[in-house]
């Protein structure tokens, strides 16, 4: 592609979200398109690890408290906090291009949609379920 074609192409409006394109990387990026590493401070990595350990202890401790149906939601909420810490700090999403976070959240959202609709479908055959009689091989 001739250089003139490239420089006259309009920049996409969503450039900030989707990352560099071949047009803007050379001319607009600070450092002329060179790498600009962002090492996460060590205290932050250590702090995240310590928090993850504390939350692991907390989630084990939470199983000894009877909250009825809420127990599984408490466990999932703690797991979600841990997952967010891993994704944002360890996986660097906090400083990354937003598209990476959007991709991950979209994946999680589609899994939730998948499970949600499968659970809705369960209502159809719910009357046929006999408690304690899961389908399976003969014992």
């Amino acid at each position: 592609m001739p250089e003139s074609d490239r420089s006259h192409r309009p920049l996409p409006a969503n450039r900030a979200v989707f990352g560099t394109t071949d047009t803007d990387s050379v001319h607009d990026e600070p450092g002329g398109g060179d790498l600009h590493p962002h090492p996460v401070p060590l205290w932050m990595l250590g702090g995240v690890f310590a928090t993850l350990v504390v939350l692991t202890v907390l989630t084990v401790a939470a199983t000894y408290v009877d909250l009825g149906r809420l127990n599984v939601w408490v466990a999932l909420a703690i797991a979600a906090v841990k997952g967010t810490l891993v994704a944002e700090i360890f996986m660097h999403l906090h400083w990354d291009r937003p598209f990476h976070r959007i991709a991950l959240l979209a994946a999680v959202a589609f899994v939730a949609l998948f499970i949600g609709i499968a659970m809705l479908d369960r209502v159809t055959y719910l009357p046929d379920l006999i408690p304690g009689h899961a389908p399976g091989v003969q014992q």
């Binding site: 990026e29 199983t63 466990a75 360890f90 996986m91 999680v108 899994v111 899961a134 399976g136």
Partner: protein, 268 residues
């Protein structure tokens, strides 16, 4: 970024592929591709989480009973091992970006060792299930389950410690569900209720932890490869892409375990 050019830190062996304009563009393309791959991984595990949700919602008694056959302590220790390996991996990425060659190799080696530790503990757990026939489908040994429960209190070295409070809770929940099919057997000092089709839990347990274990193994191969390249002096301030992306994969494996652990081991 004049400081980068003047930086005495180790730059690593780097080159710009001919089809990229700049290093930045090259790095961004690689990272975007990695994230899209991770998205497919999340979706693949999503199918298993869906199966888990449906079965647990329909037959809570199976999960409530069967999870007591897992070793909560080993599961918790494995969680800490994996979290620690994620920490050392994140630190390794930092070391690569800063051009700290020796530290990078050391941290990758520690991460790899943690991978071995995780799989080792997992092997102890699988072996215990195998010995007692707590397996999937028709391989589940229902006869041995009764023997196992009968000898529960005396066999603390190989199995999870008896937990009267959990037993009482399980019995209460099952009474609440009015389980006509529940079988009462004498197990040491405590009566236990064994629901039908416990093998369904173990089918889900082995597929989910097994697929996760395969991912750990794959991650260890990647980290071993990174370690070899690191020792060769490939990575530095201008070439850390592979370390960064390998790290993303390892963190995803950690992320999935963060959800697997409470869902399989900590059922209440």
């Amino acid at each position: 970024m004049a400081s980068v050019a003047a930086n005495p830190r180790y730059e690593g062996k780097h080159h710009l592929a001919h089809h990229f304009d700049t290093r930045r563009q090259q790095f961004d393309s690689h990272k975007l591709a990695m994230w899209l791959f991770l998205v497919t991984e999340v979706l693949m595990f999503g199918g298993l989480f869906c199966a888990y949700t449906i079965y647990r919602a329909s037959h809570p008694e199976i999960f409530l009973f069967a999870h007591t056959l897992l070793d909560k302590n080993l599961g918790a220790v494995n969680t800490i091992v994996l979290l620690f390996s994620s920490f050392t991996m994140a630190w390794a990425v930092r070391a690569a970006m800063l051009g700290e060659r020796r530290r990078l190799s050391a941290l990758l080696a520690i991460t790899l060792l943690c991978g071995f530790g995780f799989l080792g503990i997992k092997a102890v757990e699988y072996n215990h299930k195998w010995q007692h026939g707590f397996l999937w489908g028709q391989h589940f040994a229902y006869a041995e389950l009764q023997d196992y429960l009968a000898g529960h209190g005396t066999d603390a070295a190989t199995g999870p410690a008896p937990d009267p409070a959990a037993d009482a809770h399980a019995a209460a929940v099952m009474a609440e569900l009015d389980l006509a099919a529940a079988v009462t057997v004498a197990h040491g000092h405590d009566p236990a209720l064994i629901p039908r089709n416990v093998h369904i839990f173990f089918g889900i347990y082995f597929v989910m932890t097994g697929l996760h274990g395969i991912h750990v193994l794959a991650g260890m191969i990647v980290i071993g490869w990174l370690l070899r390249r690191s020792l060769r002096g490939d990575f530095g301030t201008r070439n850390y892409t592979a370390v960064d992306l390998g790290g993303l994969y390892w963190h995803l494996v950690d992320l999935i375990w963060i959800f697997l652990f409470p869902l399989l081991y900590l059922i209440h």
